[in-house]
């Protein structure tokens, strides 16, 4: 018996030793910083079952973040949005997206659209008390370029940006700091969407002084210092993270004093938690659409808030494919898909049909575009006109296996629609990394995907997909018209707003109306459901799910 006990003890000790490894390195898997301006959060407390308290909002996400540093991620912006301030913010003002001043007190733009003079708000301090100055703005640009991982595109537009990113310069030539509150930014070429770009989550201003002292920025809450309305006090990997109100914040005091974001990977568990009162805010996109319809559409109809999730779900048809290179085939495919039925049946009407490239909710969106009308008979005629017979056209609809169940149904629906006009499309599922690799090679026949807008400017989508040969190839579009692509690339430099909008509208007519370069499908409505403790919530303008906690108002 002693032997049994001995063996069990030995194994238990081994196990506890291993478990101890985690405990000993707790700082790297879940660390805490002293809370300011709000109650101290309890490390590793049951976040999912946290009792409601004054000023607290509890929400859940499906996946954990990888970092809080925008220099290392172009995803997961909830912490950057709430902990940092930008010169400008894009806010939902009365249902319209508007670029509004934030840290920027005032600005002027030169007539050629190249030089911006900014006046920074004085008296703003970071949550550690350090003063925010114009030098911090310059440092923020330079840091993105020196790290040169993610979100470098905006900083690269500044004169000397490329040189700094490539290690050929020590500082950013195009930004000159006059004093603590004034700086001048000079761009390589005019960009009418520059202010909108500055409002993107990636452009949060960091403290140069703090950054020189800390080593865990983006990983350790205590080192991740911003000037925004919240401080991140805790991040327990794969479990939860906590934000509390920053009492040194310069702006209006928000209703929410503490936000706990739990990592709950199972959608149904999130659903039960919300209905049980354990969550105050739920992103309905996390749930299966059937659950939303059965459990929320009626029972919570007064608590559902929605906004267009600004972005485009589109069908790509490889313009270099044996059959798909024929514009009549691409147009026929567009006419064979009944997008309205897709929206009604698969999204229960919670999506908006798109007819162009610039999505609903984005500046420059053209409501008057006619798009491709559903007309299978006319589609068949077009195919016959090109000399194709029933079943002759075949191609592959490549599905990313990590796509949600609704998108999988979209694929199936498209396959059936195409079958009805005599096109044999085969839905083939690929592991996500294989799918991405194949698409990047430019050899994917066809796929459905979604682009979420990072900032409120058409260039964010137009230039990404049709701004040049490499862009169109890397997404397997292979649009061949170099002249039109050159116009797309040049459009962002048109300084006059009206002129630029006209050009984008003409480009959409050319790309979609004439060339059917891709098939626009829809923009989903981003729905949230607020709990009984929440008085109101204004979802963020963006193509992603993160939101400003200050947009939640508690009862």
């Amino acid at each position: 018996m002693k032997k049994v006990f001995g063996t069990i003890t030995a194994l238990a000790l081994t196990a506890s030793l291993l478990a101890g490894c985690g405990g000993a390195s707790g700082n790297s898997t879940g660390s805490t910083a002293p809370a300011q301006g709000a109650a101290e959060s309890t490390a590793a407390a049951a976040p999912a079952a946290v009792a409601a308290e004054d000023g607290l909002v509890r929400t859940a996400v499906l996946y954990d973040i990888s970092t809080m540093d925008v220099a290392e991620t172009s995803d997961n912006y909830l912490i950057p949005m709430n902990v940092f301030d930008r010169l400008f913010e894009t806010r939902n003002v009365g249902g319209t997206a508007e670029v509004v001043k934030s840290l920027c007190e005032d600005y002027t733009v030169s007539e050629d659209g190249l030089t911006y003079d900014f006046t920074i708000k004085s008296g703003v301090v970071f949550s550690n008390g350090s003063e925010l100055t114009a030098s911090d703005v310059k440092y923020t640009f330079e840091r993105l370029l020196r790290i040169n991982h993610e979100n470098t595109d905006i900083a690269r537009e500044v004169v000397g940006g490329e040189a700094l990113a490539n290690g050929e310069a020590d500082s950013l030539e195009g930004i000159s700091v006059k004093d603590d509150t004034h700086l001048t930014v000079t761009l390589e070429k005019p960009n009418a969407g520059f202010l909108a770009e500055l409002s993107s989550a990636a452009m949060g201003i960091v403290d140069a002084e703090t950054m020189e002292k800390v080593s865990g920025f983006g990983k350790e809450p205590a080192d991740t210092i911003g000037s925004g309305p919240y401080i991140v006090t805790e991040w327990v990997a794969n479990d939860h993270y906590t934000l509390v109100y920053n009492d040194k914040y310069w702006g209006a005091e928000p209703s929410v004093k503490k936000l706990i974001v739990s990592i709950v990977p199972d959608a149904n568990t999130q659903n039960l938690m919300f209905q049980n009162g354990e969550l105050d805010l739920i992103d309905l996109q996390n749930l299966d659409s059937a659950i939303v319809q059965s459990s929320y559409a009626e029972a919570y109809k007064d608590q559902i808030v929605s906004t267009p999730k600004v972005g485009m779900t589109y069908l790509v048809l490889n313009n270099a494919h044996e059959y798909l290179k024929d514009v009549n085939v691409r147009k026929a495919i567009g006419m064979a898909i009944n997008v309205d039925v897709l929206i009604d049946n698969l999204y229960s009407g919670n999506a908006v049909r798109e007819n162009g490239i610039i999505p609903t909710g984005c500046w420059g969106h053209n409501d008057s575009l006619e798009g491709m009308k559903y007309d299978p008979a006319a589609a068949k005629e077009l195919l016959a006109k090109s000399g194709y017979t029933d079943g002759q056209i075949t191609f592959e609809l490549a599905l990313d296996s990590s796509a949600n169940s609704t998108i999988q149904l979209v694929y199936e629906s498209i396959r059936q629609s195409l079958n009805e006009i005599g096109i044999k499309a085969e839905v083939k599922s690929y592991d996500q990394s294989v799918w991405l690799d194949l698409r990047k090679s430019g050899e994917m026949d066809s796929f459905v995907a979604r682009w979420g807008m990072d900032y409120n400017d058409p260039a964010n989508i137009m230039a990404t997909f049709f701004g040049g040969e490499s862009q169109t190839k890397s997404r397997s579009i292979n649009y061949p018209d170099t002249e039109t692509m050159a116009r797309v690339a040049a459009a962002s430099s048109i300084v006059d707003d009206a002129e630029r909008m006209t050009e984008y509208q003409n480009l959409e007519k050319k790309l979609i109306g004439e060339d059917a370069a891709w098939i626009p499908l829809y923009t989903e409505l981003h729905q949230y459901c607020i709990g009984s403790r929440v008085a109101s919530f204004t979802p963020q303008w963006a193509g992603f799910s993160d939101f400003y906690a200050s947009d939640v108002v508690l009862k």
Partner: protein, 307 residues
């Protein structure tokens, strides 16, 4: 016995190295670029190339493997691509949760399984036997996710007795432990019943009875101890399986354990994390089989001597 364990430990090192080699090269043979998955939709080619170089994925596979093993020997299993933290600390933290869950699930499975198995054997063909065996069949055949969801709905959502998910409180582990141990309890009870029925028919049981041993004494001291030989083997394997992570249970109940970490690694094509969790699971399974062997030797001294 000690020598045998030492031999097994030496073998274990070889197995771990083999598994590391296999996983390492399998992950590199399968098509697809993990950097594309990591960087997402918005990354440009220059960024992808830079990240590939920084993570050393542009190096020849053999160089990468040697670096990996050299790091692993020092306890450095690399940094997770998706969670951005050292794999060793992620596994360490997750294992603490998996350990709690596994121990509670195992205790539930063994206590319920042994008690039901003994009662069913003693009352063979009686009503308790039929009830318990029916329940055990239910336990063996019900998928874990179904049990988990039913428990969640009934005890957390409707009755509000226990939390729906997550947390550090022991109460948070009750439902996941039952969900996870449910299947094992069914297997244990069926094995205990069948083994015990066979042993209760042996001559030495009659001898013990003839010597005046009470019924309970005969069952517990003579029959059950011998019946436990195959059961212990099963229990040890179950424990090592539970300790290597319970993917579905951990996901449904939001427990940050080894299983959930492994799924995250697979979904995100997170090579360091996937290698780390796979190696760790192998280590735990080896440890479990060592435990089984050791206990077997103690319960049946003949086995120990042979070893």
């Amino acid at each position: 016995m000690t020598r045998s364990i030492l031999q097994r430990l030496i073998q274990a090192v070889g197995v771990l190295l083999g598994v590391a080699l296999l996983i390492f090269f399998m992950l590199r043979i399968v098509p697809g670029n993990p950097i594309l998955t990591l960087m997402g939709e918005h990354a440009d080619q220059a960024t992808i190339d830079r990240m590939t170089a920084e993570l050393g994925l542009d190096q020849p596979p053999l160089t990468q493997f040697i670096r990996y093993v050299a790091g692993a020997v020092r306890g450095d299993f690399g940094t997770s691509y998706t969670l951005g933290r050292p794999v060793s600390s992620l596994i360490g933290a997750a294992f603490g949760n998996t350990l709690k869950l596994a121990i509670m699930a195992a205790l539930f499975a063994w206590i319920v399984g042994i008690v039901c198995g003994v009662i069913a054997a003693v009352k063979k063909n009686g009503i308790p036997d039929r009830i318990f065996m029916g329940l055990s069949l239910f336990g063996v055949s019900m998928p874990v996710f179904m049990v988990a969801m039913i428990l969640q709905y009934v005890f957390a959502f409707y009755l509000h007795w226990l939390p729906i998910s997550g947390g550090d409180n022991w109460k948070c582990y009750i439902l996941p432990a039952i969900a996870l141990g449910w299947n094992s309890a069914g297997s244990v009870s069926r094995l205990v019943r069948s083994t015990l029925i066979e042993i209760l028919g042996e001559d030495y049981i009659d001898t013990a009875r003839a010597k005046g041993r009470g019924r309970m004494g005969v069952i517990v001291l003579h029959a059950l101890r011998n019946a436990m030989l195959p059961v212990v083997t099963m229990m040890a394997i179950q424990l090592s399986s539970l300790l290597s992570g319970a993917v579905i249970t951990e996901t449904i109940f939001s427990i940050n354990g080894i299983g959930r970490l492994a799924v995250q690694a697979i979904n995100g094509r997170d090579i360091p994390l996937l290698q780390g969790t796979a190696l760790f699971s192998t280590f735990v399974v080896i440890l479990g089989s060592l435990l089984a062997d050791s206990l077997y030797g103690v319960l049946d001294p003949r086995t120990g001597k042979e070893a």
